[in-house]
Amino acid sequence: MDKNINVRDMIHKNKQSMNIGRVWEKMVPKVLLSIAIISILTTIGILATLTVETIAFFREVPILDFFTGTKLKPLGANAEFGVLPLLTGTILSTIIAMFVAIPVGLMTAVYLSEYASDKVRRTLKPLLEVLAGIPTIVYGFFAYTFVTPILRTFIPGLDPTNILSPGLVMGIMIIPMVASLSEDAMSSVPSEMRQGAFALGATRLETTWRVVIPASISGIIASFVLAISRAIGETMIVTIASGSSKNFTFDITQSMQTMTAYIVEVTGGEAPAGSTLYYSLYAVAMTLFVFTLIMNLLAQYISRRFREEY
Protein backbone atom coordinates (compact mmCIF):
# COMPACT_ATOMS: atom_id res chain seq x y z
CA MET A 1 0.00 0.00 0.00
CA ASP A 2 1.34 3.37 -1.02
CA LYS A 3 1.47 5.54 2.09
CA ASN A 4 1.30 8.74 0.01
CA ILE A 5 -2.21 8.17 -1.24
CA ASN A 6 -4.38 10.81 0.37
CA VAL A 7 -7.95 9.73 -0.23
CA ARG A 8 -9.43 12.86 1.29
CA ASP A 9 -7.55 15.10 -1.17
CA MET A 10 -8.42 12.93 -4.12
CA ILE A 11 -12.12 13.00 -3.31
CA HIS A 12 -11.97 16.76 -2.84
CA LYS A 13 -10.29 17.27 -6.23
CA ASN A 14 -12.74 14.98 -8.00
CA LYS A 15 -15.64 16.83 -6.45
CA GLN A 16 -14.69 20.02 -8.24
CA SER A 17 -14.48 18.39 -11.62
CA MET A 18 -17.84 16.79 -11.11
CA ASN A 19 -20.04 19.81 -11.65
CA ILE A 20 -21.02 18.77 -15.16
CA GLY A 21 -21.97 15.43 -13.75
CA ARG A 22 -24.19 17.16 -11.26
CA VAL A 23 -26.15 19.00 -13.97
CA TRP A 24 -26.66 15.74 -15.79
CA GLU A 25 -27.72 14.13 -12.50
CA LYS A 26 -30.46 16.74 -12.19
CA MET A 27 -31.66 16.21 -15.75
CA VAL A 28 -31.96 12.46 -15.50
CA PRO A 29 -35.35 12.36 -13.76
CA LYS A 30 -36.78 14.83 -16.28
CA VAL A 31 -35.56 12.81 -19.24
CA LEU A 32 -36.91 9.61 -17.75
CA LEU A 33 -40.22 11.27 -16.98
CA SER A 34 -40.69 12.48 -20.57
CA ILE A 35 -39.96 9.01 -21.88
CA ALA A 36 -42.49 7.56 -19.47
CA ILE A 37 -45.04 10.15 -20.59
CA ILE A 38 -44.56 9.18 -24.23
CA SER A 39 -45.49 5.60 -23.51
CA ILE A 40 -48.48 6.64 -21.44
CA LEU A 41 -49.66 9.01 -24.19
CA THR A 42 -49.36 6.25 -26.78
CA THR A 43 -51.54 4.00 -24.68
CA ILE A 44 -54.10 6.74 -24.20
CA GLY A 45 -54.03 7.43 -27.94
CA ILE A 46 -54.73 3.80 -28.79
CA LEU A 47 -57.55 3.66 -26.25
CA ALA A 48 -59.08 6.89 -27.58
CA THR A 49 -59.04 5.63 -31.18
CA LEU A 50 -60.55 2.33 -30.08
CA THR A 51 -63.32 4.11 -28.21
CA VAL A 52 -64.17 6.60 -30.96
CA GLU A 53 -64.31 3.97 -33.70
CA THR A 54 -66.24 1.56 -31.50
CA ILE A 55 -68.86 4.24 -30.87
CA ALA A 56 -69.07 4.82 -34.64
CA PHE A 57 -69.67 1.08 -35.08
CA PHE A 58 -72.47 1.03 -32.54
CA ARG A 59 -74.21 3.81 -34.46
CA GLU A 60 -74.62 1.39 -37.34
CA VAL A 61 -75.06 -1.87 -35.44
CA PRO A 62 -77.04 -1.68 -32.20
CA ILE A 63 -74.91 -2.69 -29.25
CA LEU A 64 -77.44 -5.32 -28.17
CA ASP A 65 -77.40 -6.97 -31.60
CA PHE A 66 -73.62 -7.08 -31.45
CA PHE A 67 -73.42 -8.78 -28.09
CA THR A 68 -76.38 -11.15 -28.48
CA GLY A 69 -76.12 -11.91 -32.20
CA THR A 70 -75.23 -15.47 -33.04
CA LYS A 71 -74.62 -14.74 -36.73
CA LEU A 72 -71.45 -13.19 -38.01
CA LYS A 73 -71.57 -12.50 -41.71
CA PRO A 74 -69.48 -9.40 -42.28
CA LEU A 75 -69.54 -9.49 -46.09
CA GLY A 76 -72.30 -9.44 -48.64
CA ALA A 77 -75.63 -7.77 -48.90
CA ASN A 78 -77.24 -8.73 -45.58
CA ALA A 79 -74.20 -8.32 -43.36
CA GLU A 80 -74.73 -9.35 -39.76
CA PHE A 81 -72.45 -8.53 -36.87
CA GLY A 82 -73.07 -10.82 -33.92
CA VAL A 83 -69.97 -11.29 -31.80
CA LEU A 84 -71.05 -14.51 -30.09
CA PRO A 85 -69.38 -16.87 -32.60
CA LEU A 86 -66.08 -15.09 -31.95
CA LEU A 87 -66.66 -15.07 -28.19
CA THR A 88 -67.31 -18.81 -28.07
CA GLY A 89 -64.25 -19.39 -30.23
CA THR A 90 -62.08 -17.37 -27.87
CA ILE A 91 -63.56 -18.82 -24.70
CA LEU A 92 -63.45 -22.45 -25.88
CA SER A 93 -59.87 -22.23 -27.08
CA THR A 94 -58.91 -20.61 -23.79
CA ILE A 95 -60.63 -23.32 -21.75
CA ILE A 96 -58.93 -26.08 -23.74
CA ALA A 97 -55.58 -24.36 -23.30
CA MET A 98 -56.12 -24.06 -19.55
CA PHE A 99 -56.93 -27.77 -19.27
CA VAL A 100 -53.40 -28.36 -20.52
CA ALA A 101 -51.47 -25.46 -19.05
CA ILE A 102 -52.77 -25.35 -15.48
CA PRO A 103 -52.25 -28.98 -14.39
CA VAL A 104 -49.02 -29.50 -16.28
CA GLY A 105 -47.66 -26.08 -15.35
CA LEU A 106 -48.51 -26.51 -11.70
CA MET A 107 -47.04 -30.00 -11.49
CA THR A 108 -43.89 -28.78 -13.19
CA ALA A 109 -43.66 -25.98 -10.67
CA VAL A 110 -44.15 -28.37 -7.75
CA TYR A 111 -41.45 -30.63 -9.11
CA LEU A 112 -38.99 -27.81 -9.70
CA SER A 113 -39.58 -26.06 -6.41
CA GLU A 114 -40.07 -28.99 -4.02
CA TYR A 115 -38.46 -32.07 -5.50
CA ALA A 116 -35.74 -31.21 -7.99
CA SER A 117 -32.17 -30.86 -6.79
CA ASP A 118 -30.47 -27.53 -7.31
CA LYS A 119 -28.64 -28.95 -10.29
CA VAL A 120 -31.76 -30.21 -12.04
CA ARG A 121 -33.56 -26.95 -11.35
CA ARG A 122 -30.69 -24.92 -12.73
CA THR A 123 -30.84 -26.88 -15.98
CA LEU A 124 -34.60 -27.15 -16.39
CA LYS A 125 -35.61 -23.58 -15.66
CA PRO A 126 -33.65 -21.99 -18.52
CA LEU A 127 -35.00 -24.71 -20.81
CA LEU A 128 -38.52 -23.72 -19.88
CA GLU A 129 -37.69 -20.14 -20.65
CA VAL A 130 -36.46 -21.17 -24.10
CA LEU A 131 -39.79 -22.85 -24.68
CA ALA A 132 -41.47 -19.57 -23.77
CA GLY A 133 -39.40 -17.77 -26.40
CA ILE A 134 -40.55 -19.82 -29.41
CA PRO A 135 -42.49 -17.56 -31.81
CA THR A 136 -46.19 -18.32 -31.75
CA ILE A 137 -46.29 -18.77 -35.51
CA VAL A 138 -44.14 -21.85 -35.03
CA TYR A 139 -46.67 -23.23 -32.58
CA GLY A 140 -49.44 -22.46 -35.08
CA PHE A 141 -47.65 -24.34 -37.79
CA PHE A 142 -47.03 -27.19 -35.35
CA ALA A 143 -50.72 -27.35 -34.47
CA TYR A 144 -51.83 -27.38 -38.09
CA THR A 145 -49.32 -29.75 -39.64
CA PHE A 146 -48.51 -32.03 -36.72
CA VAL A 147 -51.08 -32.06 -33.92
CA THR A 148 -54.22 -31.95 -36.03
CA PRO A 149 -53.24 -34.94 -38.23
CA ILE A 150 -52.42 -36.98 -35.13
CA LEU A 151 -55.69 -36.01 -33.47
CA ARG A 152 -57.57 -36.95 -36.62
CA THR A 153 -56.42 -40.54 -36.29
CA PHE A 154 -58.11 -40.68 -32.87
CA ILE A 155 -61.10 -38.47 -33.61
CA PRO A 156 -62.33 -39.31 -37.10
CA GLY A 157 -64.89 -36.46 -37.12
CA LEU A 158 -62.26 -33.81 -36.54
CA ASP A 159 -62.22 -31.08 -39.17
CA PRO A 160 -58.87 -30.22 -40.81
CA THR A 161 -59.18 -26.89 -39.12
CA ASN A 162 -60.69 -27.03 -35.65
CA ILE A 163 -60.50 -25.28 -32.30
CA LEU A 164 -59.30 -28.34 -30.35
CA SER A 165 -55.82 -28.61 -31.80
CA PRO A 166 -54.84 -24.93 -31.49
CA GLY A 167 -56.36 -24.93 -28.01
CA LEU A 168 -54.10 -27.80 -26.93
CA VAL A 169 -51.03 -26.27 -28.53
CA MET A 170 -51.80 -22.92 -26.93
CA GLY A 171 -51.87 -24.78 -23.63
CA ILE A 172 -48.44 -26.22 -24.34
CA MET A 173 -47.19 -22.78 -25.21
CA ILE A 174 -48.45 -21.39 -21.89
CA ILE A 175 -47.05 -24.18 -19.66
CA PRO A 176 -43.68 -22.42 -19.15
CA MET A 177 -45.42 -19.27 -18.04
CA VAL A 178 -47.58 -21.04 -15.44
CA ALA A 179 -44.66 -23.22 -14.33
CA SER A 180 -42.21 -20.38 -14.02
CA LEU A 181 -44.50 -17.95 -12.19
CA SER A 182 -45.88 -20.65 -9.86
CA GLU A 183 -42.38 -21.89 -9.17
CA ASP A 184 -41.32 -18.38 -8.22
CA ALA A 185 -44.27 -18.15 -5.85
CA MET A 186 -43.57 -21.52 -4.24
CA SER A 187 -39.85 -21.14 -3.87
CA SER A 188 -40.35 -17.81 -2.15
CA VAL A 189 -42.08 -19.64 0.71
CA PRO A 190 -39.44 -19.61 3.47
CA SER A 191 -37.83 -22.99 4.10
CA GLU A 192 -38.56 -22.63 7.84
CA MET A 193 -42.16 -23.31 6.99
CA ARG A 194 -41.36 -26.56 5.28
CA GLN A 195 -39.14 -27.53 8.19
CA GLY A 196 -42.04 -26.87 10.56
CA ALA A 197 -44.10 -29.40 8.63
CA PHE A 198 -41.33 -31.98 8.24
CA ALA A 199 -40.66 -31.79 11.98
CA LEU A 200 -44.26 -32.85 12.59
CA GLY A 201 -43.73 -35.99 10.56
CA ALA A 202 -45.24 -34.65 7.33
CA THR A 203 -44.09 -36.23 4.08
CA ARG A 204 -42.84 -34.06 1.26
CA LEU A 205 -46.17 -34.36 -0.51
CA GLU A 206 -48.11 -33.36 2.63
CA THR A 207 -45.77 -30.44 3.12
CA THR A 208 -46.18 -29.28 -0.47
CA TRP A 209 -49.90 -29.73 -0.54
CA ARG A 210 -50.84 -28.44 2.90
CA VAL A 211 -48.18 -25.80 3.55
CA VAL A 212 -46.31 -24.62 0.47
CA ILE A 213 -49.21 -24.37 -1.97
CA PRO A 214 -51.57 -22.63 0.49
CA ALA A 215 -48.78 -20.22 1.41
CA SER A 216 -48.15 -19.33 -2.22
CA ILE A 217 -51.70 -19.61 -3.53
CA SER A 218 -51.96 -15.94 -4.46
CA GLY A 219 -48.96 -16.15 -6.76
CA ILE A 220 -50.19 -19.42 -8.21
CA ILE A 221 -53.68 -18.11 -8.98
CA ALA A 222 -52.22 -14.93 -10.40
CA SER A 223 -50.16 -17.07 -12.77
CA PHE A 224 -53.34 -18.87 -13.87
CA VAL A 225 -55.13 -15.62 -14.55
CA LEU A 226 -52.21 -14.21 -16.51
CA ALA A 227 -52.15 -17.45 -18.48
CA ILE A 228 -55.84 -17.07 -19.29
CA SER A 229 -55.27 -13.54 -20.43
CA ARG A 230 -52.42 -14.72 -22.60
CA ALA A 231 -54.64 -17.40 -24.16
CA ILE A 232 -57.40 -14.90 -24.85
CA GLY A 233 -55.00 -12.63 -26.67
CA GLU A 234 -53.23 -15.40 -28.59
CA THR A 235 -53.62 -14.91 -32.33
CA MET A 236 -51.31 -16.78 -34.65
CA ILE A 237 -52.01 -20.33 -33.50
CA VAL A 238 -55.77 -20.06 -33.85
CA THR A 239 -55.56 -18.12 -37.10
CA ILE A 240 -53.51 -20.87 -38.69
CA ALA A 241 -55.04 -23.97 -37.15
CA SER A 242 -58.67 -23.11 -36.61
CA GLY A 243 -59.60 -21.55 -39.94
CA SER A 244 -62.10 -18.79 -40.33
CA SER A 245 -65.57 -20.33 -40.09
CA LYS A 246 -67.81 -18.04 -38.16
CA ASN A 247 -69.83 -20.90 -36.73
CA PHE A 248 -71.72 -20.38 -33.54
CA THR A 249 -71.14 -23.78 -31.97
CA PHE A 250 -69.78 -25.50 -28.93
CA ASP A 251 -68.42 -28.44 -30.89
CA ILE A 252 -64.68 -28.26 -30.45
CA THR A 253 -64.01 -30.56 -33.41
CA GLN A 254 -65.18 -27.82 -35.76
CA SER A 255 -63.47 -24.81 -37.18
CA MET A 256 -64.18 -21.64 -35.21
CA GLN A 257 -62.84 -18.15 -35.27
CA THR A 258 -61.59 -16.25 -32.27
CA MET A 259 -61.75 -12.49 -31.83
CA THR A 260 -58.06 -12.20 -32.58
CA ALA A 261 -58.26 -14.34 -35.71
CA TYR A 262 -61.17 -12.23 -36.95
CA ILE A 263 -59.09 -9.11 -36.62
CA VAL A 264 -56.28 -10.75 -38.60
CA GLU A 265 -58.67 -11.81 -41.32
CA VAL A 266 -60.42 -8.47 -41.69
CA THR A 267 -57.30 -6.34 -41.57
CA GLY A 268 -55.75 -8.63 -44.17
CA GLY A 269 -58.78 -8.25 -46.43
CA GLU A 270 -58.57 -4.50 -47.02
CA ALA A 271 -61.76 -3.38 -45.37
CA PRO A 272 -62.62 0.06 -46.87
CA ALA A 273 -62.19 2.77 -44.25
CA GLY A 274 -65.54 3.96 -42.94
CA SER A 275 -67.38 0.76 -43.81
CA THR A 276 -69.22 -1.18 -41.14
CA LEU A 277 -66.75 -4.00 -41.64
CA TYR A 278 -63.94 -1.60 -40.87
CA TYR A 279 -65.61 -0.33 -37.73
CA SER A 280 -66.40 -3.86 -36.59
CA LEU A 281 -62.66 -4.39 -36.19
CA TYR A 282 -62.59 -1.77 -33.48
CA ALA A 283 -65.63 -3.12 -31.68
CA VAL A 284 -64.07 -6.60 -31.58
CA ALA A 285 -60.71 -5.19 -30.54
CA MET A 286 -62.40 -3.23 -27.78
CA THR A 287 -64.18 -6.35 -26.53
CA LEU A 288 -60.90 -8.21 -26.54
CA PHE A 289 -59.20 -5.39 -24.70
CA VAL A 290 -61.89 -5.30 -22.01
CA PHE A 291 -61.57 -9.07 -21.59
CA THR A 292 -57.82 -9.05 -21.03
CA LEU A 293 -58.03 -5.91 -18.90
CA ILE A 294 -60.50 -7.62 -16.58
CA MET A 295 -58.21 -10.63 -16.39
CA ASN A 296 -55.18 -8.54 -15.52
CA LEU A 297 -57.08 -6.56 -12.89
CA LEU A 298 -58.35 -9.84 -11.48
CA ALA A 299 -54.80 -11.16 -11.26
CA GLN A 300 -53.71 -8.07 -9.38
CA TYR A 301 -56.70 -8.21 -7.06
CA ILE A 302 -56.13 -11.88 -6.31
CA SER A 303 -52.47 -11.52 -5.55
CA ARG A 304 -53.28 -8.73 -3.13
CA ARG A 305 -56.37 -10.29 -1.59
CA PHE A 306 -55.00 -13.77 -0.96
CA ARG A 307 -51.51 -12.82 0.07
CA GLU A 308 -50.63 -15.02 3.01
CA GLU A 309 -48.87 -12.98 5.61
CA TYR A 310 -45.61 -14.24 6.94
Binding site: A199, P214, E308
Partner: protein
Protein backbone atom coordinates in the same frame (compact mmCIF):
# COMPACT_ATOMS: atom_id res chain seq x y z
CA UNK B 1 -35.45 -26.95 -1.09
CA UNK B 2 -33.42 -29.73 -2.42
CA UNK B 3 -34.25 -33.36 -2.64
CA UNK B 4 -33.06 -35.72 0.00
CA UNK B 5 -33.81 -38.99 -1.74
CA UNK B 6 -30.44 -39.43 -3.42
CA UNK B 7 -28.46 -38.46 -0.37
CA UNK B 8 -30.87 -40.28 1.85
CA UNK B 9 -29.70 -43.63 0.60
CA UNK B 10 -26.03 -42.93 1.07
CA UNK B 11 -26.80 -41.50 4.46
CA UNK B 12 -28.55 -44.59 5.73
CA UNK B 13 -26.04 -46.94 4.15
CA UNK B 14 -23.12 -45.36 5.94
CA UNK B 15 -24.96 -45.47 9.20
CA UNK B 16 -26.25 -48.97 8.57
CA UNK B 17 -22.81 -50.49 8.09
CA UNK B 18 -21.75 -49.22 11.45
CA UNK B 19 -24.87 -50.48 13.12
CA UNK B 20 -24.38 -54.05 12.02
CA UNK B 21 -21.44 -54.48 14.31
CA UNK B 22 -22.74 -52.35 17.13
CA UNK B 23 -25.28 -53.68 19.55
CA UNK B 24 -27.16 -51.15 21.53
CA UNK B 25 -28.63 -51.69 24.95
CA UNK B 26 -31.24 -49.17 25.80
CA UNK B 27 -32.67 -49.13 29.28
CA UNK B 28 -36.20 -47.76 29.38
CA UNK B 29 -34.89 -44.70 31.17
CA UNK B 30 -32.93 -43.56 28.15
CA UNK B 31 -34.70 -41.97 25.18
CA UNK B 32 -31.71 -41.38 22.97
CA UNK B 33 -28.36 -43.06 22.88
CA UNK B 34 -25.70 -42.08 20.38
CA UNK B 35 -22.68 -44.27 19.68
CA UNK B 36 -19.60 -42.86 17.97
CA UNK B 37 -21.71 -40.37 16.13
CA UNK B 38 -19.77 -38.40 13.53
CA UNK B 39 -21.16 -35.93 11.06
CA UNK B 40 -19.63 -34.02 8.17
CA UNK B 41 -20.91 -31.13 6.10
CA UNK B 42 -18.89 -31.97 3.01
CA UNK B 43 -15.34 -31.87 4.37
CA UNK B 44 -16.32 -29.99 7.50
CA UNK B 45 -16.27 -32.38 10.46
CA UNK B 46 -19.10 -30.95 12.57
CA UNK B 47 -19.73 -33.72 15.11
CA UNK B 48 -16.93 -35.91 16.48
CA UNK B 49 -17.45 -39.21 18.29
CA UNK B 50 -20.52 -38.21 20.21
CA UNK B 51 -21.50 -40.78 22.85
CA UNK B 52 -24.44 -39.58 24.87
CA UNK B 53 -27.37 -41.07 26.75
CA UNK B 54 -30.30 -38.72 27.00
CA UNK B 55 -32.55 -39.55 29.97
CA UNK B 56 -36.30 -39.86 29.94
CA UNK B 57 -38.60 -37.20 31.44
CA UNK B 58 -35.79 -34.81 32.14
CA UNK B 59 -34.56 -31.60 30.61
CA UNK B 60 -31.20 -32.04 28.95
CA UNK B 61 -29.44 -28.82 28.00
CA UNK B 62 -26.86 -28.58 25.23
CA UNK B 63 -24.54 -25.64 25.75
CA UNK B 64 -21.44 -24.39 24.00
CA UNK B 65 -20.15 -21.51 21.92
CA UNK B 66 -21.60 -20.61 18.54
CA UNK B 67 -20.72 -23.03 15.76
CA UNK B 68 -19.77 -25.89 18.08
CA UNK B 69 -22.42 -28.19 16.62
CA UNK B 70 -25.34 -27.86 19.04
CA UNK B 71 -27.96 -27.37 16.35
CA UNK B 72 -26.38 -30.00 14.17
CA UNK B 73 -26.55 -32.47 17.04
CA UNK B 74 -30.22 -32.06 17.84
CA UNK B 75 -31.19 -31.90 14.17
CA UNK B 76 -29.48 -35.26 13.77
CA UNK B 77 -31.74 -36.75 16.43
CA UNK B 78 -34.85 -36.24 14.26
CA UNK B 79 -32.88 -36.53 11.03
CA UNK B 80 -33.75 -32.98 9.97
CA UNK B 81 -30.06 -32.47 9.30
CA UNK B 82 -30.48 -34.56 6.15
CA UNK B 83 -32.20 -31.60 4.52
CA UNK B 84 -28.65 -30.39 3.86
CA UNK B 85 -27.62 -32.43 0.81
CA UNK B 86 -23.89 -32.58 1.58
CA UNK B 87 -24.30 -34.19 5.01
CA UNK B 88 -22.62 -37.52 5.80
CA UNK B 89 -23.07 -39.43 9.04
CA UNK B 90 -21.43 -42.40 10.68
CA UNK B 91 -22.10 -44.10 13.96
CA UNK B 92 -25.48 -44.91 15.34
CA UNK B 93 -28.35 -43.36 17.20
CA UNK B 94 -30.96 -45.34 19.08
CA UNK B 95 -34.27 -43.76 19.89
CA UNK B 96 -35.64 -46.08 22.59
CA UNK B 97 -35.48 -49.51 20.93
CA UNK B 98 -35.31 -48.15 17.37
CA UNK B 99 -32.24 -47.46 15.32
CA UNK B 100 -33.13 -44.20 13.66
CA UNK B 101 -31.10 -44.81 10.47
CA UNK B 102 -32.68 -48.20 9.89
CA UNK B 103 -34.46 -47.88 6.53
CA UNK B 104 -37.38 -49.86 7.92
CA UNK B 105 -37.97 -47.11 10.47
CA UNK B 106 -39.66 -44.32 8.53
CA UNK B 107 -38.29 -40.86 9.10
CA UNK B 108 -41.85 -39.51 9.34
CA UNK B 109 -42.53 -41.94 12.18
CA UNK B 110 -39.42 -40.78 14.02
CA UNK B 111 -40.44 -37.15 13.65
CA UNK B 112 -43.93 -37.92 14.88
CA UNK B 113 -42.38 -39.24 18.09
CA UNK B 114 -39.66 -36.62 18.31
CA UNK B 115 -41.05 -33.11 17.92
CA UNK B 116 -39.03 -29.97 17.34
CA UNK B 117 -39.26 -26.29 18.21
CA UNK B 118 -37.06 -23.99 16.17
CA UNK B 119 -34.94 -21.01 17.01
CA UNK B 120 -37.05 -18.57 15.04
CA UNK B 121 -40.80 -19.06 15.56
CA UNK B 122 -42.10 -20.57 12.33
CA UNK B 123 -45.87 -20.92 12.49
CA UNK B 124 -47.61 -21.68 9.20
CA UNK B 125 -49.29 -18.73 7.50
CA UNK B 126 -52.64 -20.11 8.60
CA UNK B 127 -55.09 -19.51 11.42
CA UNK B 128 -54.03 -20.35 14.96
CA UNK B 129 -56.49 -23.24 14.91
CA UNK B 130 -55.16 -24.66 11.64
CA UNK B 131 -51.60 -24.37 12.88
CA UNK B 132 -52.33 -26.62 15.84
CA UNK B 133 -54.60 -28.96 13.87
CA UNK B 134 -52.05 -29.40 11.08
CA UNK B 135 -50.14 -32.26 12.74
CA UNK B 136 -53.19 -34.25 13.85
CA UNK B 137 -54.74 -33.75 10.40
CA UNK B 138 -51.79 -35.09 8.44
CA UNK B 139 -51.78 -38.07 10.77
CA UNK B 140 -55.36 -38.82 9.83
CA UNK B 141 -57.44 -37.16 12.56
CA UNK B 142 -60.36 -35.52 10.77
CA UNK B 143 -63.16 -35.40 13.34
CA UNK B 144 -63.94 -31.76 14.10
CA UNK B 145 -64.91 -32.37 17.74
CA UNK B 146 -61.72 -34.32 18.40
CA UNK B 147 -59.65 -31.63 16.69
CA UNK B 148 -61.33 -28.93 18.78
CA UNK B 149 -60.34 -30.78 21.92
CA UNK B 150 -56.76 -31.34 20.72
CA UNK B 151 -56.40 -27.66 19.85
CA UNK B 152 -57.61 -26.53 23.25
CA UNK B 153 -55.54 -29.08 25.13
CA UNK B 154 -52.38 -28.23 23.19
CA UNK B 155 -52.82 -24.49 23.58
CA UNK B 156 -53.42 -24.94 27.31
CA UNK B 157 -50.37 -27.18 27.45
CA UNK B 158 -48.32 -24.42 25.88
CA UNK B 159 -49.76 -21.86 28.32
CA UNK B 160 -51.25 -19.69 25.61
CA UNK B 161 -54.91 -20.73 25.59
CA UNK B 162 -56.15 -17.72 27.54
CA UNK B 163 -54.38 -15.32 25.22
CA UNK B 164 -55.73 -16.76 21.98
CA UNK B 165 -58.97 -18.56 22.77
CA UNK B 166 -61.07 -15.75 21.30
CA UNK B 167 -59.06 -15.44 18.11
CA UNK B 168 -58.45 -19.00 16.99
CA UNK B 169 -59.39 -18.11 13.41
CA UNK B 170 -56.92 -15.29 13.08
CA UNK B 171 -53.63 -15.68 11.27
CA UNK B 172 -50.88 -16.81 13.63
CA UNK B 173 -48.62 -14.14 12.18
CA UNK B 174 -50.70 -11.49 13.94
CA UNK B 175 -49.27 -12.67 17.28
CA UNK B 176 -46.16 -11.41 19.04
CA UNK B 177 -42.90 -13.36 18.69
CA UNK B 178 -43.28 -14.89 22.15
CA UNK B 179 -46.83 -15.95 21.44
CA UNK B 180 -45.81 -17.37 18.06
CA UNK B 181 -43.16 -19.47 19.75
CA UNK B 182 -45.70 -20.88 22.21
CA UNK B 183 -48.01 -21.58 19.23
CA UNK B 184 -45.14 -23.58 17.74
CA UNK B 185 -44.76 -25.46 21.01
CA UNK B 186 -48.50 -26.13 21.05
CA UNK B 187 -48.30 -27.31 17.44
CA UNK B 188 -45.63 -29.74 18.52
CA UNK B 189 -47.66 -30.93 21.54
CA UNK B 190 -50.73 -31.54 19.39
CA UNK B 191 -49.40 -34.85 18.09
CA UNK B 192 -48.29 -35.86 21.60
CA UNK B 193 -44.67 -36.62 20.86
CA UNK B 194 -42.41 -38.47 23.27
CA UNK B 195 -39.38 -36.21 23.01
CA UNK B 196 -39.26 -32.49 22.26
CA UNK B 197 -36.15 -30.96 20.73
CA UNK B 198 -35.77 -27.23 21.20
CA UNK B 199 -33.12 -25.24 19.36
CA UNK B 200 -32.52 -21.99 21.27
CA UNK B 201 -36.28 -21.49 21.55
CA UNK B 202 -35.96 -18.22 23.44
CA UNK B 203 -33.11 -16.54 21.60
CA UNK B 204 -35.50 -14.46 19.49
CA UNK B 205 -37.74 -13.56 22.43
CA UNK B 206 -37.96 -10.73 24.95
CA UNK B 207 -37.19 -11.48 28.63
CA UNK B 208 -40.81 -11.89 29.70
CA UNK B 209 -41.64 -14.31 26.89
CA UNK B 210 -38.40 -16.11 27.67
CA UNK B 211 -39.49 -16.58 31.25
CA UNK B 212 -42.85 -17.95 30.12
CA UNK B 213 -41.21 -20.47 27.83
CA UNK B 214 -38.78 -21.50 30.58
CA UNK B 215 -41.65 -22.09 33.01
CA UNK B 216 -43.39 -24.04 30.31
CA UNK B 217 -40.38 -26.28 29.82
CA UNK B 218 -40.44 -27.10 33.55
CA UNK B 219 -44.10 -27.95 33.27
CA UNK B 220 -43.67 -30.09 30.15
CA UNK B 221 -40.95 -32.33 31.49
CA UNK B 222 -43.54 -34.26 33.52
CA UNK B 223 -44.88 -35.70 30.29
CA UNK B 224 -42.04 -35.28 27.84
CA UNK B 225 -38.32 -35.73 27.57
CA UNK B 226 -36.84 -32.43 26.51
CA UNK B 227 -33.54 -31.62 24.86
CA UNK B 228 -32.90 -27.91 24.71
CA UNK B 229 -30.07 -26.08 23.00
CA UNK B 230 -29.14 -22.80 24.57
CA UNK B 231 -26.15 -20.54 24.48
CA UNK B 232 -27.41 -18.92 27.64
CA UNK B 233 -25.72 -20.66 30.56
CA UNK B 234 -28.01 -19.14 33.15
CA UNK B 235 -30.91 -20.60 31.26
CA UNK B 236 -29.31 -24.03 31.20
CA UNK B 237 -28.63 -23.77 34.92
CA UNK B 238 -32.18 -22.65 35.68
CA UNK B 239 -34.16 -25.20 33.71
CA UNK B 240 -32.15 -28.33 33.00
CA UNK B 241 -31.42 -31.51 34.90
CA UNK B 242 -28.53 -32.62 32.73
CA UNK B 243 -26.12 -30.53 30.70
CA UNK B 244 -23.81 -31.42 27.86
CA UNK B 245 -21.04 -28.99 27.01
CA UNK B 246 -20.07 -29.05 23.33
CA UNK B 247 -16.89 -27.57 21.92
CA UNK B 248 -15.72 -27.79 18.30
CA UNK B 249 -18.05 -30.68 17.59
CA UNK B 250 -17.05 -32.70 20.63
CA UNK B 251 -18.76 -33.35 23.93
CA UNK B 252 -16.35 -32.07 26.53
CA UNK B 253 -18.49 -32.86 29.52
CA UNK B 254 -21.89 -34.36 30.21
CA UNK B 255 -23.27 -34.58 33.72
CA UNK B 256 -25.91 -33.35 36.14
CA UNK B 257 -26.45 -29.66 35.64
CA UNK B 258 -25.64 -28.78 39.27
CA UNK B 259 -22.51 -30.81 39.08
CA UNK B 260 -21.36 -29.34 35.79
CA UNK B 261 -21.87 -25.76 36.86
CA UNK B 262 -20.56 -26.04 40.42
CA UNK B 263 -17.81 -28.51 39.93
CA UNK B 264 -16.74 -28.88 36.29
CA UNK B 265 -14.30 -31.68 35.64
CA UNK B 266 -12.74 -30.29 32.51
CA UNK B 267 -10.71 -27.11 32.43
CA UNK B 268 -12.40 -26.04 29.17
CA UNK B 269 -15.84 -26.37 30.75
CA UNK B 270 -14.73 -24.25 33.63
CA UNK B 271 -13.33 -21.61 31.27
CA UNK B 272 -16.56 -21.53 29.34
CA UNK B 273 -18.97 -21.31 32.26
CA UNK B 274 -16.89 -18.69 33.97
CA UNK B 275 -17.06 -16.65 30.78
CA UNK B 276 -13.42 -16.85 29.81
CA UNK B 277 -14.33 -17.65 26.22
CA UNK B 278 -17.37 -18.25 24.01
Amino acid sequence: MSTMTGKDKKFTEVAQNKENDTTINTSNKTVFETKDLNLWYGEDHALKDINLKIPENQVTAIIGPSGCGKSTFIKTLNRMVEMVPIVKVSGSIAYRDKRIFDPRYRVEELRTQVGMVFQKPNPFPKSIYDNIAYGPRIHGIKNKKVLDQIVEKSLRGAAIWDEVKDRLNENAYGLSGGQQQRICIARCLAIEPDVILMDEPTSALDPISTLKVEELVQELKKDYSIIIVTHNMQQAARISDKTAFFLNGEVVEFSDTNELFSNPEDKRTEDYITGRFG
